[in-house]
Symmetry: C2
Subunit: 289 residues, 2 copies
């Protein structure tokens, strides 16, 4: 639910057919050594984000992923690995490569397990950015299942009673089919806004509302900062104690536990910028009839 | 995380040993026909809430449950029923009786299934109030598992861009063991505050902060209202559009889907006051090693 003044429109962007965009994004990723199959998965998810209007997680990111591959921050080609597996559960390694690849595999495994055993869950370590987290529950919804996904990140958000960044924006996504109606898809950072929104405000040259971020002294700031650092922090959803900041903070910790602790991949201040651990789940609705 | 001016203290409450309180609460419930086993479960959860300082969900509620039993709103003695069950899933009926009884059974079944198959989940229809929702994840944590529970309720909260109550306060609870540290327990309404906080403000004669509730015209109100109705609504967590009200609202709908839609027990405006459907899950941590 992007605020109107943060929406891209015909005056500040250009229109390109989705198919062309998909081919271009896949070509960019293959150009830096990504195997075709992995480039396809990543391009599909990025284009899907742009088509849904989630600009912050769309095709614009292909360039930075390419840079991360070229700089060696991402290991590409990557080897994803099933570290351990039971009928209903899986622990995966993303092999330090494109997060999309292992998150997609994790949700595919969750769906397969749910088909056989009712529920399926995967937690993924050694990972990077997975894009629009709402994409993965949508995979489950296509199979008439309920899907969930979460991903954690390096610190950007202050704890409820703190002022320095100690938790990631740690988004939660949930999807459920709705028969004749449109699918129900929730995809939300556990901070007041996704960090991409602050980047978008910067890019569009607009100020942030009071409540999105604070200085190192805990005072509201409205000019979008340039970089991450100890001198400012995003607010957890709820913002103040009276308005429930502990809830946004608490949800952020839930994401850290399922993605970073359960996987052993790391959480909060253990993560460097660009590191993201992921969790997926699928629920076979038919088992509850 | 109760605000200080909403905390009970020695000047506005009396101290009673927990064991005496448990016996008294169980006796009150048995006095109106509750079977001993069901009274024991309910008393244990209510006393646990009071001991944790969650006054809004503590022993003070025993009297209203008793009235609901006496008036016939609750069917007591109740017959809980396993409507359908698979290795990992269960659909239960609370038999229109004390919500505690079926929620406790749902989490016990979730834990048993998780022990055998890694994951366990139950959704419960025909139910009533389950008290402090955080109690149920704590049952899983005692077994070295991650636990989750949610419960929905009749409308009290406005949708993100609305002003009338259409969603319950629909709380989410999550628990994880933490080794030598204290267990991690999150228990939060998806509204800015739990409705009990507004009741407590009323009882203590204090005003609410701006941001907790609005009039039917969407204007902030600060005097705690007497009863539920169309003339006021609680705010979803996030409060305003710019501060993420759609996130609190969206989380409330997730709770409605897992508790009310998955169980078939009803959600949102389908529920009358006092009706609550419940969802529980347990995750065997050991499967992810």
């Amino acid at each position: 639910m992007a605020l109107d003044y943060l929406k891209l429109n015909d005056s500040n962007s250009i229109r390109i057919p989705a198919e062309d965009l998909h081919e271009q994004v896949a070509a960019i990723l293959q150009g830096v050594g990504t195997p075709a199959e992995h480039a396809e998965i990543t391009a599909r998810i990025l284009v899907s984000s742009s088509l849904r209007g989630v600009e912050t997680h769309g095709v614009g990111n292909a360039v930075r992923y390419s840079r991360s591959i070229e700089s060696g921050e991402y290991t590409v080609p990557q080897t994803t690995e099933v570290i351990s597996e039971t009928d209903t559960t899986a622990l995966l390694s993303c092999g330090n490569g494109l997060g999309f690849v292992a998150a997609h595999q994790g949700m595919e495994m969750s769906i397969e397990k749910a088909k056989k055993f009712g529920l399926g869950m995967a937690t993924i370590r050694d990972g990077h950015h997975i894009g629009m987290v709402g994409y993965y529950p949508m995979m489950a919804v296509e199979q008439d299942m309920i899907g969930m996904a979460m991903t954690n990140a390096s610190p950007a958000v202050r704890p409820a009673l703190g002022a320095r960044p100690r938790v990631g924006t740690n988004p939660i996504a949930f999807g459920a089919p709705a028969g004749e109606e449109r699918d129900f898809i929730l995809d939300m950072a556990t901070s007041t806004v996704a960090s991409g929104k602050i980047g978008l405000a910067k890019r569009l040259g607009v100020r942030m509302p009071v409540g999105w971020a604070v200085s190192a002294e805990g005072e509201p700031i409205i000019d979008p900062p340039e970089d991450r650092g100890e001198d400012w922090a995003m607010n957890p959803l709820g913002n103040t104690r009276e308005q429930g900041a502990h809830k946004g903070y608490g949800l952020g910790l839930v994401v850290d536990i399922l993605c970073g602790v359960l996987s052993g991949g790391g959480f909060g201040t253990q993560l460097s910028g660009g590191e993201n651990m992921t969790w997926t789940m699928a629920i076979d609705i038919a088992r509850f009839r």
